[in-house]
Subunit: 105 residues, 2 copies
């Protein structure tokens, strides 16, 4: 099974931004930003596993994450270094923001 993981510079900025412009995905990214690898099942943000799988796919195809297959599990990690190199400040800017949307919206 070929994990489709594009080069970050091949991905349109708008796709990167769109990938980050979702609450569930942002929570995933926040978790990943703590460092290390996480199995997909780790992310329990009140969505079904189908939805979770979908979001992880969006992140992966936007060049934000790297996935390692091991047995029946898949371990995901943030491509932080590449991200910081190509878009310095982007991740930090997004991550240093209140976890929940400021206004309840």
């Amino acid at each position: 099974m070929e994990l489709h993981e594009p080069e970050l510079r091949e991905v349109p900025v708008t796709a990167v931004l769109a990938a980050l412009a979702d609450d569930v995905r942002l929570q995933i990214v926040r978790t990943l930003a703590e460092g290390g690898e996480y199995a997909c099942g780790t992310f329990e943000f009140g969505v079904s596993k189908a939805t979770r799988s979908h979001h992880l796919k969006v992140l992966r195809e936007a060049g934000l994450t790297r996935t390692r297959v091991a047995g029946t599990s898949r371990y995901v990690r943030l491509r932080r270094d590449e991200l910081d190199r190509l878009y310095p400040g982007l991740l930090d800017a997004v991550l240093t923001t209140p976890a929940t949307a400021p206004t309840g919206r």
Copy 2:
């Protein structure tokens, strides 16, 4: 006519990112980033004026722009200082990227 211009910190990050995650709006922001004010009509990016008006509204309501009414015209400018203060590196990261999407997509 009340221009609805929210405080930047009242706007969810996801809304800011979503506002930037569109080609037309990104082109507008790129233009605005050159500094100064621009009348709405300045932005000719191959969309109708209805669509242009829509995009400017999205940018304004995401807290990205400030609009000054003068006669029949409206002058738009980037809220760069506030943006840089709340999301340091965000704008730079987004703007220092090739104008057109890397892959033709």
